[in-house]
Structures are given as structure tokens and as C-alpha cells.
């Protein structure tokens, strides 16, 4: 027939990245889905492993121990000062992998999209992920998208999975803390959580604090090179440093003594906590780590951390002690002692 000669195989009109929205068709496996993946995700993430567009990524591995981690990301609002759900989802999984001392190698990303979600926002998120992955030199090698009906999601949920290679001779684990060890953090605590809370409509306060979301693997590489015998590393995300330390204390069957006057906390984070009745030790971080090492290595480790831009404000904040109760305690600035307990339920703003 006369017209068919003009039809290009596989042709589809370009995605309307300005005004278009996610439709159920974008998850149905048809042409619309292929188009979304090609024009939005593949265009952003492009790398040699992803390009063949198989259902799986194929890549070389090396001898030695590998680690794997997965993390789902849900956040309101999706865009915030310092980052967005895209960069967060890359950093979060890289950090989880890196906390073993490993060098992160590859990422996978899975998206749950809500019908009606603007394509312009999705593109912004995909570009931000791509930029974060490139900056970290960790490619996104495979992925998946699903679409749920309007009302069944919150715009976009992103799950990322990462794998990494642990250098020989590194044995970092949450059960390795020993009495006498020193506890270090890489910088100011609570920035991410306070930034996000300030954007929630009903809390209504204004701050210039930005989310600290960042990939920590380069900092970790420097640390591991300087002190290969680091005992424990953890990124204190949800539940803050208090939760991370309580988990480690329990897993290592030890206690801890923190020194309040050593804790690096931005004064705006302290001030916001005063308003809301929060404790900065329980506020989330997305670009900080806590490390535990033998006392004799602590100064060396601290110096190494401080020479890296992401560890400029690193500090030794306490030490591991013997304690059959596994209490994390704190010497207060005021001169007394108190427990830094597990959080009971979600931290809710108080008025009393």
C-alpha cells in the first residue's frame, strides 16, 4: 500500500518531557514503556553495561570477597536543598556497600512510578541519578520500572542495589567493636533530617541547612588505606547516630561512652531541635559515617578523614567500654551522664 513506505519500524513520537505525565501504558511492557526507558533512563544512565538492554547486566568480576546491598528510597519532598530522591538513591546504596570497606562497582535501579507523575520531574530525577553515579564512578547497569495507579504511590519510589569488592585484608563488621576502641564521625550530625523537616508544610520553619547527601566511598577508600584494621563502619541514616551506635553496641556486646562536647552539630540543627523537642542524635544523615578503630589508630584515622572534603569536620566522639547491658552513654557537656537510648517509635515533635 502506498503509505507504508513512510512508516519507520519502531517509530514513536518523542516523549513530551515538558508537559507529559506517567500513564499506565508506561508500565505495560509495550511501546510506551520501551520509549520511556530509551528516551529517559537509558539516555541519562548510558554506559557499556546497560547499552545492550538485556534483562540482566553482564560484567566482569575479580577474585576476592564481594558485598551486596539494597535500599528502597521514599522521601517527601522529592527535591530538597542539597539533592533529590535520585542522588539520594545512588548515594544511599553506595554508602551501604562502602561501609564494609568495599569499593562499590555496579548499581541496579528499580522504579515504582505513580500514574500522573510529571515526566519533567522524572527526567530531573534520572539526570540527577546519572550525575551522582558518574561522579561516583559507579555505573547503573540494569533497572526496572513499574507503574501503579494514581493514589497507590507517592510520585516515585526508587530501589537501588549495589555490589562492591572488598580489598584483601579488610574485615569491617558491626560485631568487631572492642572495649578501648575509639568512635569517630565524619562530620556534622542531623543535617539531612532537619533540612527535610523544614520543608514539611506543617512544621513551618526556615533554615539554610542543606541535606548532606553524598557518596562516601572515596573517603572510605582513604580511611581503609590509612588504617586497614578499622573495626566497624556504619552510615547513621534513619534514627541517626544514636540508633547506629546502639545497634553496634548490641552486635558487639559492648557499651559506649560519648562526649557531648565533642559531637559536631551545626548550630541551626541544634536550634531546630530546641524548637521541635528533638534530639539531634536521632536525626537522619545521608552523607556521614561513624567508624570505630583501635585507640592507637584513632589519631591517624582522624587526620586522614579530615584531609578529605567529606571528612573536614570529623571528630573523635567517644570510646567503646565494657558493659553487659550494652548501654550507649554520654558524658554531658554539663558534667553529668545519661543514656543515649534506642528510639521508641518515630520521633514526634513535642510541645512538652
Amino acid at each position: 500500500m502506498s503509505g507504508t513506505g513512510k512508516i519507520k519500524p519502531g517509530y514513536a513520537r518523542s516523549l513530551d518531557l515538558k508537559h507529559g505525565c506517567i500513564e499506565m501504558a508506561h508500565g505495560s511492557g509495550g511501546r510506551a514503556m520501551a520509549q520511556l526507558i530509551n528516551q529517559l533512563f537509558l539516555a541519562a544512565f548510558d554506559n557499556e553495561f546497560l547499552r545492550p538492554m538485556n534483562d540482566q547486566a553482564s560484567f566482569p568480576v575479580f577474585n576476592g570477597r564481594m558485598v551486596m546491598s539494597t535500599d528502597s528510597h521514599v522521601i517527601t519532598p522529592l527535591f530538597f536543598p542539597g539533592g533529590d530522591i535520585g542522588s539520594l538513591s545512588v548515594h544511599g546504596t553506595i554508602n551501604d556497600v562502602a561501609m564494609s570497606g568495599a569499593k562499590p562497582c555496579y548499581l541496579a535501579a528499580s522504579f515504582i512510578l505513580e500514574e500522573g507523575f510529571p515526566l519533567s520531574d522524572l527526567k530531573r530525577i534520572a539526570d540527577s541519578m546519572a550525575q551522582a553515579a558518574r561522579a561516583a564512578r559507579v555505573p547503573i547497569v540494569t533497572g526496572d520500572t513499574k507503574v501503579v495507579e494514581k493514589g497507590s504511590g507517592d510520585g516515585v519510589f526508587i530501589t537501588t542495589t549495589g555490589i562492591g569488592m572488598v580489598p584483601d585484608g579488610i574485615n569491617i563488621s558491626s560485631e568487631n567493636a572492642r572495649p578501648g576502641d575509639k568512635i569517630l564521625v565524619s562530620g556534622t550530625l542531623g543535617d539531612h533530617g532537619i533540612c527535610i523537616m523544614s520543608l514539611r508544610e506543617n512544621l513551618s520553619f526556615h533554615t539554610s541547612i542543606k541535606s548532606d547527601t553524598a557518596a562516601l566511598h572515596d573517603l572510605v577508600a582513604d580511611m581503609v588505606a590509612a588504617v586497614p584494621s578499622i573495626h566497624v563502619m556504619r552510615d547513621p541514616t534513619r534514627g541517626g547516630i544514636a540508633t547506629a551506635l546502639n545497634e553496634i553496641a548490641l552486635q558487639s556486646s559492648v557499651g559506649m561512652m560519648l562526649h557531648e562536647n565533642q559531637l559536631p552539630i551545626h548550630e541551626q540543627v541544634n536550634a531546630a531541635c530546641e524548637f521541635l523537642g528533638f534530639d539531634p542524635l536521632y536525626i537522619a544523615n545521608e552523607g556521614k559515617l561513624v567508624a570505630i578503630c583501635a585507640a592507637e589508630d584513632a589519631e591517624n584515622l582522624l587526620k586522614t578523614m579530615r584531609t578529605h572534603p567529606l571528612g573536614e569536620k570529623a571528630a573523635i566522639i567517644g570510646e567503646v567500654i565494657e558493659d553487659s547491658h550494652c548501654f550507649v552513654q554520654m558524658q554531658t557537656r554539663f558534667g553529668g551522664k545519661r543514656i543515649v537510648d534506642w528510639l521508641s517509635g518515630e520521633q514526634l515533635p513535642r510541645i512538652c
Binding site: S204, H206, E267, A271, A272, F275, I351, C352
Partner: protein
């Protein structure tokens, strides 16, 4: 008790409907001045549930701090 979570903050700017922006170490928040009188920018007020409860008296605050310092002098002498 409920009164506990109240914090002194500095009045930065008066806003419409008898409200004001307070500043606490860089954190800014709009509060109501419905319970206080004669507030001007630069005043410190005790803020509770979004309301200024009372103006803080800077001279009395100095006085209380001086009292603490006096105690320390007393200790050093004794």
C-alpha cells in the same frame, strides 16, 4: 509539662496580623504576638506552641548569670 518546650528567640521582624519572625541561631519561624505587648525587633521572647508567652528581660538574665559567677568567686575564696 506542656510549658516545657518553650525557647527564647530573637524577634527579627514584625509581620502582618500581630505576628513576627523570630530567629533562633539561624532558624526562622513565624509566631503570634497575641499574648504579649510592646514587642519590637531585637527583643527576646519565650516561644511556646507558636506564641510568644513573655518578653525576656535581658537585665535580669545578666543578673542571674552574674549570680552564678558570684558563686564561683565564693568558691575560689573559700
Amino acid at each position: 509539662m506542656l510549658m516545657c518546650l518553650a525557647i527564647p528567640a530573637c524577634i527579627e521582624q514584625l509581620t502582618a496580623d500581630n505576628h513576627a519572625i523570630v530567629n533562633l541561631a539561624g532558624i526562622r519561624k513565624e509566631i503570634s504576638l497575641a499574648l504579649v505587648e510592646d514587642i519590637v525587633p531585637g527583643d527576646y521572647v519565650i516561644v511556646h506552641v507558636g506564641f510568644a508567652l513573655q518578653k525576656l528581660d535581658p537585665i535580669e538574665a545578666e543578673h542571674t548569670l552574674a549570680l552564678f559567677a558570684e558563686l564561683s568567686a565564693f568558691n575560689q575564696n573559700s
